[in-house]
Symmetry: C2
Subunit: 338 residues, 2 copies
């Protein structure tokens, strides 16, 4: 990975996300119970497949954000736990459908659910989780929450469809790419944070500040994800390095490389990303072009910009351990190597 | 189609469904407007694909049932129109995902959306329509309605997953088949009818009666659908005859034929449905076995049984043109040839 020495993995035994997770540990444990209860069904394949994906873990970043946001807003009830589970269900349904659409074989270092259970089951169990998430929202009993999360779901789907349109399109601009990731990734981060303020009945200014924090954090998260797809050690990332390249996804590292490249380079990108005619060595050449044009470092720089915005969004809240941990999560999202 | 002469198509210029549709014509026209408005998105592929499926029509049976149920309950507002559009959105999302799962090429006599736009787009636009349907439900502002329709969506997904498990399983019982169709088809009919009573603030007894009417009607509808898959003229049905056979779907005509067949016949069903080893003439042989064992006529007889139950469910309502048309729709569902 000589081309990305400036992004070399930082090995840590504990991350800033662990600090935030520790602060909401009791809630998160309850969320895990709620998740397991609600993925039950008399149709055995549903808990089998859902359990394979959800129980296998992942960072639980989005539900942790919901818990943290509610906590930051001084919420004293327990509805934020149900909401956090809802957010994880929506995320999981999206992952199941994403992996079908992307034809992915790996997820979090394991064979993806569609690779194990088949595409058909992944589509249908995704639909189940999605439907169940709305049943759970109804239990929360807030039309405001339902409005926020149903809108987020529609925006996510729009982002995914937009990504389908920009895939293999080497004319994709940085602006179009940003629209895609705001929809497919950042909107759920934003909604996950916003509902924490709404369930706590806080003023709109705080709800909006948390929405903006989530949106900016989510954008930074996806930018770094897209960098890692070209730079991470596979074992660390838990997915196949070069997936985006093989699928011809026009992520920002590629968009920047194309815009800064000469005619020969543009022909290379056209062949590999648009025609999907790829040979041995093409991924390495793509990585070399990214190094030449600082495409990965500049993508991380963009992530830092959104991280700085997210930092500013929390200014309206009083200082305290939760706020400190939520600020540290911004750095974690940007500096992580997985 | 000599094997199904007892089911020969009845040609009509007007059906009992047309009568019901005419009674709610003004509402239905408003529903079509709501549908078109709500499938809009700045991501052009969404209205393109959704429009291809939804605007192309179909019988609009489910939204017509919502309008009729609200009407039967004396509802005077206009929220039933939004609800009817919601029901059609849920149905459309399900169709999009079904066609991906079933790898279908035809839908309502046209190339299916996945055949035209690809599986990926169908999965994601299905997700969009589904999410948008919940946004629209929130506009209705009733947690009861949200509870009914989110539960229905989860039950539909369970039915679809259960169908995945019974496909290619020649041990499938009539009871298991019934569980599948209650979930995948009848639950939405039931919920579509029930919300008509709920939006009209009618007593639970009426809401339950309409739910039961929809459930029984939906079961009858699916039973006849499964008969038509072996008996209809392709041009009439608007889909490929023998689809279920080619996919190895254990529908009731097959379940009955297997249970009534000898060892040679069971070997035939095992080879064609479980191993999916099918040769020219196998579909015709399957149809001959169904004729020998009265499997199609007995499936229609089951449909008539559920039709009779549906008829009884409407007894609690006062007579009138809407009730008469809703009773006639039962006969339409059973006697239709498409």
């Amino acid at each position: 990975m000589a081309v990305v020495t400036n992004l070399e993995p930082k090995r840590r035994t504990s991350t800033p996300l662990d600090d935030l997770t520790a602060l909401v540990a009791e809630d998160l444990s309850a969320v895990n119970e709620i998740i397991i209860q609600n993925m039950q069904s008399s149709v055995e394949l549903i808990p089998q497949l859902a359990g394979y994906l959800i129980a296998a873990g992942g960072k639980r970043l989005r539900p942790v954000l919901t818990l943290a946001a509610a906590n930051l807003c001084g919420y004293q009830g327990d509805k934020h736990r149900l909401l956090a589970a809802v957010v994880e269900f929506i995320h999981s349904a999206t992952l199941l459908h994403d992996d079908v659409v992307d034809e992915s074989d790996l997820r979090r270092g394991l064979a993806s659910a569609n690779a194990v259970f088949g595409n058909k089951a992944s589509v249908l169990v995704g639909d189940f989780l999605f439907s169940r998430s709305f049943e759970m929202m109804v239990q929360v009993g807030s039309l405001d929450v339902l409005q926020i999360l149903s809108r987020a779901s529609a925006v996510i789907a729009e982002g995914e469809v937009l990504q389908l349109r920009t895939t293999n399109d080497t004319e994709t601009t940085e602006e179009a790419y940003l629209e895609v990731i705001k929809g497919k990734t950042a909107e759920l981060f934003a909604a996950a944070c916003r509902v924490g303020a709404v369930v706590a009945n806080r003023p709109e200014a705080e709800a909006q500040a948390l929405y903006d924090y989530g949106m900016n954090l989510g954008i930074a998260f996806q930018l770094v994800d897209d960098v890692l797809d070209y730079s991470a050690l596979q074992a660390t990332l838990g997915k196949t390095v070069g997936d985006d390249f093989r699928e011809g996804k026009l992520t920002l590292p590629v968009v920047l490389s194309i815009s800064r490249g000469d005619a020969t380079e543009r022909a290379f990108w056209h062949r590999t990303m648009e025609e999907l005619e790829q040979a041995d060595g093409d991924l390495a050449h793509a990585q070399a072009l990214m190094a030449k044009h600082d495409a990965l470092t500049d993508t991380v720089a963009r992530a830092r910009h959104y991280g700085a915005l997210a930092r500013g969004n929390l200014a309206v809240f009083a200082d305290g351990p939760i706020k400190t941990a939520m600020l540290e999560v911004i750095d974690f999202v940007i500096d992580r190597d997985f």
